[in-house]
Amino acid sequence: MNPVGKHLVLSAEAVETLRQFLQNLAQDCGALAVLTVDRGGQLIVACGDTAAMDTTSLAALITGTFGSTRAIAGHIGETNFKRMFQQGLSRSVYMTCLSTSDVLAVLFPNTVTVGRVKYRLEQSLDAIDQHIQKMYQSHQSPVQRHATPAAPKLNDLF
């Protein structure tokens, strides 16, 4: 589980390493895109063909759908629910829960089999999971003094 009430602070180096992991995974399994989403629905890193995607909304919905399905699993007595597959006519999504309670989602076309996605994901999952765990453990310092200069900006916007 990731630490409650603490911020996830991502260094440029950590993001680049994660992006490389995801990029390799996307290439290996022929995915359109791979996203990592935190347990609150915030996008951590996305890679692949995401230009035409609303990744912010997608991240919120991925966390919502995964969380609600996990709750269903709990209601039927299943405590080890970690994978979810949403099959579409032309595009599908395969989601897996990380040890930090974040979700990794692979979006892929119907020219790719779900078996290939599962196989490639299992090969790289441990490394990705360990890297994200390190990100939570390594960067818990608060961000720079930020709020006071934000006040006039908020006044302008709202």
Partner: protein
């Protein structure tokens, strides 16, 4: 739990509107959506029933632009207020950075407000959080209706922590942005 990305120089925060069923949480987001320019807000997503009651959540992303060199984004969520949807409320609170509790000012809704506030504290406790740890503000909605509690009565019943509170008529927009501004400042203050 804010997400601070030094690679993209972005800060992402999650704000949840909580409160009783039909209290005006979705109305707050709908007003914000209508008033803000598309460059500041994204598309609003509502997972609602056929009768427009919130089933799972409403979601509205806001992009506040650059603040101190960081692109600052807020994700606004509502929870379903109906008592039976507690599992959904609990899920939405996961990773929350700030809360707006929308109270219904009508006299016959006071007990529901109190129970909803208690329910929110119970759900936060599931994540090891208390209201002392999460920035939150109160909004007393529906101030235009007859048979409402006075501001002082609402404060006495719902605001024992003395957090910022705002009177609102969300359907007309009154008090909506004052509430959003207050919770936004509180969330950014907590990041400092």
């Amino acid at each position: 739990m804010a997400l601070i990305n030094y690679a993209t120089r972005e800060i992402n925060c999650k704000i949840v509107y909580y409160g009783t069923g039909l209290g005006g949480k979705t109305t707050n987001l709908e007003y914000i959506f209508r008033q803000l320019a598309p460059g500041i807000r994204g598309e609003m997503i509502s997972l609602a029933t056929e009768t427009e009651r919130t089933l799972f959540f409403d979601f509205l992303p806001l992009d506040l632009g650059s603040v101190q060199g960081f692109k600052t984004k807020f994700s606004l969520y509502t929870v379903p207020g109906q008592v039976e949807y507690n599992a959904s409320r609990k899920l939405i609170l996961n990773g929350v950075d700030g809360i707006v509790f929308v109270g219904d000012s009508q006299r016959d809704k006071m007990q529901e407000n109190i129970e909803s506030l208690r329910n929110m504290e119970e759900n936060l406790a599931e994540y090891g959080l208390t209201l002392d740890q999460v920035p939150y503000v109160l909004q007393y909605n529906k101030r235009d209706l007859p048979n409402i509690n006075s501001f002082e009565e609402l404060e006495a019943a719902l605001n024992d922590r003395g957090v910022p509170s705002f009177e609102a008529v969300a359907v007309e927009g009154s008090g909506v942005f004052a509430t959003l501004k207050a919770v936004s400042k509180a969330v950014l203050n907590r990041l400092s």
